[in-house]
């Protein structure tokens, strides 16, 4: 069994990056491997929005992440700086900046690049899925 740290830098539907990362994550888990951490960076933070409503005949990637993270109890972190400047926030940051709403799915947490550094140091393999 190996452990993986995955960085996701692509927004859902904008490029193939996020879907590639999702498929890789699914396959690694199916193979009995560990996902040490998912780190959503730059435009990748849009994968964690609770407000995405794709057409019914399209794959709902944010919801698929949500289910995979919940099912396997994955550590899914959204970069705080990337998220806040793109309008992705949890209730804590929303309160701090007096924002009218929060939209981060409950399965994700907000964190800094330090937790990505930790993942790079600890995981057996590091993959970066970017546009």
């Amino acid at each position: 069994m190996s452990s993986f740290a995955l960085m996701i830098q692509g927004a859902p539907y904008s490029s193939g990056a996020a879907l590639s990362a999702f498929r890789f994550c699914e396959a690694a888990l199916a193979g009995g491997h560990e996902i040490y951490r998912l780190f959503f960076y730059q435009d990748g933070v849009h994968n964690a929005s609770a407000l995405c409503v794709p057409p019914q005949d399209e794959f709902h990637l944010p919801q698929a992440w949500q289910q995979l993270i919940r099912q396997h109890k994955l550590d899914a972190v959204v970069c705080v700086a990337s998220a806040l400047k793109r309008g992705i926030t949890d209730s804590g940051e929303a309160a701090r900046y007096q924002l009218p709403a929060a939209n981060l799915m409950a399965e994700f947490t907000i964190g800094g690049l330090g937790v990505w550094m930790d993942a790079m140091a600890k995981a057996d393999r590091v993959l970066n899925f970017a546009p």
């Binding site: 193939g16 396959a27 491997h33 899925f129 970017a130």
Partner: protein, 98 residues
Amino acid sequence: MTLHVINKTDAALWQLLLNAVMPADAVLLIEDAVYAALPGYPLVTALLATYPALQFHVLADDLAARGISAKIRSGFACVTCSEFVALTIDHARVVNWH
């Protein structure tokens, strides 16, 4: 041994890959880079001219999504997502080119 994962056919990006690759490495084509698996793509030809034994793998889902599964260069290995995972473990390092 390094696994180079590349996701587009951008010529400048491929030039960087060409400069970085070592003879015992492997290349995995994903997303739009699967088009480079079609016969005659010049930068693949250049890579193979420099390193004839270089292993090329192509992600099956991305080939199928573009309708070119049956058209890839001979000698290129079509891989599933679980084989992608295995490739990352079989190689000491993974470099993502994007």
